[in-house]
Symmetry: C2
Subunit: 629 residues, 2 copies
């Protein structure tokens, strides 16, 4: 079973010394981290990188380091616990009961993402979340007095949290313990325990920012070791009684786990269906045959916006994939992310839903939504999706890159892509967002051209266990295209419209593919034979066998890319690029497309010029994807 | 003079109806917006786009729409007022006294960026900031009850704000007026006035989310017009008495402005130096000859990290450019953004600095810093710069793109770029950030290779009035290179190392240019003649005459790009690309470079392979920047 279903979940703050503490604790508690691993702290290829990575080191539950992410992931973990408990716990079977513990510092609290998620945690009444705020009054710039003088206790009370203050966290460890016990009793509010501490406690430089990033001097280390009863001569040494103490904790943990396993075995007897579901979900296996429900379209049939195709997919598959737990950052009616029978994920006391509900109301908190989804995914048993406008995925960039680095299985339903959103104008029209997301390793950016491609995007994204996906979806209607099929599109790219002896290829994505097709038809009439390639997902296409790639991008004629975004990046797949030179414009979408020349007739004219240019230049036109290295 | 020095600054919230209200008010107050402009609301090329753009429409002071930006810009505007007042006001000359007014809604308050900036505004005691919170209990998803139940009053008190509540904002306009008067009296705290209102007041659908995005029905409009005493038959009609009322306000404004101009004229007499400075700064002209202070280096001399070269630039020019007002998001000692004689921008009561201080302590609030810098720039008289790690510019993506769209003159000192930051590891190593920023229109992403290129980046960035710049700077030492000069580098790209009859070209940026040079030297020994091109700023290079561009990227031999980022995007300037396939790694930077093969010997080996591949392929190797369109 996933370790996340154990009794305790620890989320580290990103500060280096806490990261070292985290590794040391994992070592002492018997995780797969040896003393040699600790010695190679922050060395290439070690298990102990400068900040903890969940996909890299045993016992690290979420990747942190970038400030504000840890506490925000913790909100996701706590929400996941509430949801899984409400879904699977039965009378006599309190299977899922863990608390989520997070450690955070002043820096975490200053980050906006933490504000977003802590406000939501209060609203959601996540009683099993306990955050310990290490209030040492120091950030990298020095005293918090220089920039952080807000009343944190009052702020968290305003969010609806239960707040306690521990006055002497340096010496009075019992008071910390007591505060945690107290916090555990609070069932309807998340808890913040503000612990006053001294940074670098025991060092000659204690209480100053210089102990944050710089190593202590040798004599200072000797003094600290003496002060706390260690042998100053020994390095990387753990006294036997310390190992013994932590071993005892390990034994206690193993006993608890065995007891839990026994309970689970009884659960299997009493509730065999639920047990099967729970274990399937924790393993991350999808239900068998779910993909048969994916909508399939014939050309020209049931034309709709791709955000609508997405809604139809969600409506078709949601009942069959109960781990699909979605929401929107306050754009439900625009993102079309809520299926008809959805119940909101809400504290029962609000009477607006229940913790078993699968629809999250994230509020206008895109970055928070991203970080919470990472926590939901890290917990296990849940595949989260979140809706917003594609443009505002950028607000969440910090969480999105960590999602990819951490291999979280998360879906972004990013509607209103490109200038096709129309009237909202340049402030809302993503230009640079697609290439930004395409450049993030292990992130699949899908831009489907029609209904079948939208189904394909969901098919691939839901099967891509260790990879987050962003689905870039249109506000405007897109016709179902000839030769677009799920089988083609799941390859990330394919020849949508083929001809022999081509003079030109147009490679395009999403809402512009139909325009490429229109241009190809016009060009055919003028004797310019044009192939059209649909390339909904670069990264997935790049993973195809080279032979297939070269069938799609064969040598012979020039490639012209077409996308209503910046052309930056398209040189990889094309000799010539057509897109936006700068920002979009506010207006009805068809007028906006016209303004920028993204219409069949204009692209035909551009394509003709391209074909002629390369014909005139002479020599073989070599595939843009044929390389030396 | 800049309208920002007038008595009132209005920051709109991003909601469409407020945007329409904003345009209508500008029309009534006599700004350059005709009734026809109002009629073409949200039409292509109109002055009234779907969200207000400061670079587009007279009277729009900051571009908003993306939630949380408006209130955050307002914090920047208020900080600018405090700074300019402390710098230029003299006894008897209260020249700079304006309040900054911001209107915001529930959505704005949910965004993390607003939390960051409002916390800082409280710390900074910005008494001249007055925010009106339109508490209508509705967001797009419906009642705020579904996701936003925090106690906003208490939260803002925790930030150190003065908070008032107006109970009936629909009918009791006097109570709003009185609250504003009260807020104006508070000198040492920003003010929040929470105004309870009913969304769509007067409509049959008042109090529901459906009045947010959808137009009202015809009969409903008739009823509303009747209710408020308008002729229901007339559309786009302003009764004469309304024009008269607003005209009177305009007259009052003109009188106030005339009075202010007279005061400024007296100021010119009494304080000629300050007057000259103030007017120069508001015009956005740099002091004459400032660029002579830019450090110049000889090859191999005074080698340093480019973040250090940046510090030397700042130290050299800061005294001469008093409008350069900088700071860091809690990474001062790492970003090296604080010059020796700096005074912190702080409320005098803290005894930590003064409002005349030019160094901002932003705290760990990157997005907030970006949005505040946009406000500082919008005010006039200030060129803001802000420091953080390049990786965390992504946290601020929402503000950065608006900076570029709004043509704010803002500088990001983005240190610890690439995998060269070493030990902090993949969570802190930007991979996708460079191409993300390069893809934003009107944003200059500079990645200097050495001291002279760093000076060039500052030279260009400070002269680029309507363009924000991001300076991507190394943590590790970079040698001053042969043939690198300020004159070369300000072109955005140049031939650093030239040979005749080349077999290969390597194009690179920043810390990898020295590695390209090392590879070229090794290749020369093997008979592979190699040119090296340094391309510190793509967008600036692209603006050079095509002839110059083709001198740099001449046809003849293949181009290999080299950068310790993703290779995405480099196909524009090269036939072959070397970079990172995925994430970086934690370790000492030289070991990390080794791990990924970014060393002179390996790049030489790769370069040889590239040269041989193209030689074998035969035919002319055509410049990658030669195109049909």
């Amino acid at each position: 079973m996933s370790p996340n279903l154990c009794l305790l979940t620890v989320v580290p703050t990103p500060v280096r010394r806490r990261c070292a503490l985290h590794y040391i604790l994992l070592h002492l508690l018997g995780y797969k981290l040896s003393m040699d691993d600790l010695k190679s702290f922050r060395q290439v290829d070690s298990l102990t990188p400068g900040h903890p990575e969940s996909s890299h080191t045993d016992g690290i539950e979420v990747t942190t380091g970038p400030l504000g992410q840890g506490i925000s992931n913790a909100v996701g973990l706590a929400a996941a616990q509430a949801h899984m408990a409400a879904t699977f716990n039965k009378e006599g079977f309190d299977l899922i009961t863990n608390h989520t513990y997070a450690f955070l510092g002043d820096g975490c609290l200053q980050e906006g993402v933490a504000s977003e998620t802590c406000s939501l945690a209060g609203h959601l009444q996540l009683g099993n979340l306990i955050a310990l705020y290490d209030d040492n009054h120091i950030t990298i710039d020095g005293e918090t007095d220089v920039s952080f003088t807000e009343d944190v206790v009052k702020r968290f009370e305003a969010y609806g949290w239960h707040v306690q203050v521990v006055k002497d966290g340096d010496n009075n460890l019992e008071s910390i313990y007591n505060a945690i016990v107290e916090a555990q009793k609070v069932k309807d509010k998340p808890s913040l325990i503000k612990v006053h501490t001294t940074i670098g406690f025991g060092s000659a430089k204690q209480g100053t920012e210089s102990v944050h990033g710089s190593p202590l001097k040798a004599d200072d280390i000797v003094n600290i070791k003496k002060k706390f009863g260690f042998d100053p001569e020994q390095k990387f040494h753990v006294p036997d009684e310390v190992y013994a103490t932590y071993n005892a904790i390990g034994v206690r943990g193993a006993e608890a786990e065995a007891k839990w396993d026994a309970l689970l075995a009884q659960y299997a007897q009493k509730h065999p269906e639920e047990h099967k579901e729970l274990t399937r979900r924790i393993r991350g296996d999808l239900p068998e045959g779910w993909e048969k429900k994916l909508p399939v379209y014939k050309p020209g049939e049931k034309n709709a916006a791709s955000r609508k195709y997405s809604e139809i997919v969600l409506q078709a598959i949601s009942a069959g994939i109960p781990e699909l737990v979605g929401g929107s950052a306050d754009l439900t009616g625009s993102n079309l992310t809520r299926v008809k029978e959805a119940v909101d994920f809400q504290p029962p006391s609000t009477k607006l839903g229940s913790y078993a509900g699968r629809y999250f109301r994230y509020g206008v908190r895109e970055h928070g939504m991203g970080a919470i989804m990472n926590g939901l995914s890290a917990y296990g048993g849940i595949i989260p999706f979140g809706g917003t406008f594609l443009n505002f995925v950028s607000y969440a960039a910090g969480a999105v890159r960590l999602s990819a680095l951490s291999q979280h299985h998360v879906l972004w339903v990013a509607t209103h892509d490109s200038i096709g959103l129309g009237e909202d104008g340049p402030t809302h029209q993503p230009i640079e967002t697609a290439i930004h997301l395409r450049a993030i390793p292990n992130l699949h950016f899908w831009r489907p051209a029609d209904g079948n491609e939208t189904s394909a995007a969901y098919l691939f994204a839901l099967q891509a266990k260790g990879t987050p996906s962003v689905l870039s979806l249109s506000r405007q209607t897109l016709p179902n295209l000839e030769n677009s099929t799920i089988e083609h599109a799941v390859k990330g790219g394919y020849v949508l419209h083929d001809v022999e002896g081509e003079n030109l290829n147009i490679v395009s994505t999403g809402s512009e593919v139909q325009i490429a097709v229109a241009a190809a038809e016009l060009l055919a009439k003028e004797g310019v034979k044009t192939r059209v390639i649909s390339l909904p997902c670069w990264e997935v296409f790049d993973a195809q066998p080279k032979e297939y790639q070269l069938q799609v991008f064969r040598s012979g004629a020039p490639y012209l890319s077409l996308e209503a975004y910046t052309t930056v990046g398209w040189q990889k797949y094309s000799h010539e690029q057509y897109g936006l030179a700068a920002w979009g414009a506010s207006g009805p979408y068809d007028k906006v497309y016209e303004k920028f020349g993204i219409t069949g007739p204009n692209i035909a004219a551009v394509g003709k010029k391209v074909a002629e240019f390369y014909q005139k230049r002479g020599g073989e036109v070599i595939s843009p994807i044929l390389h030396a290295i």
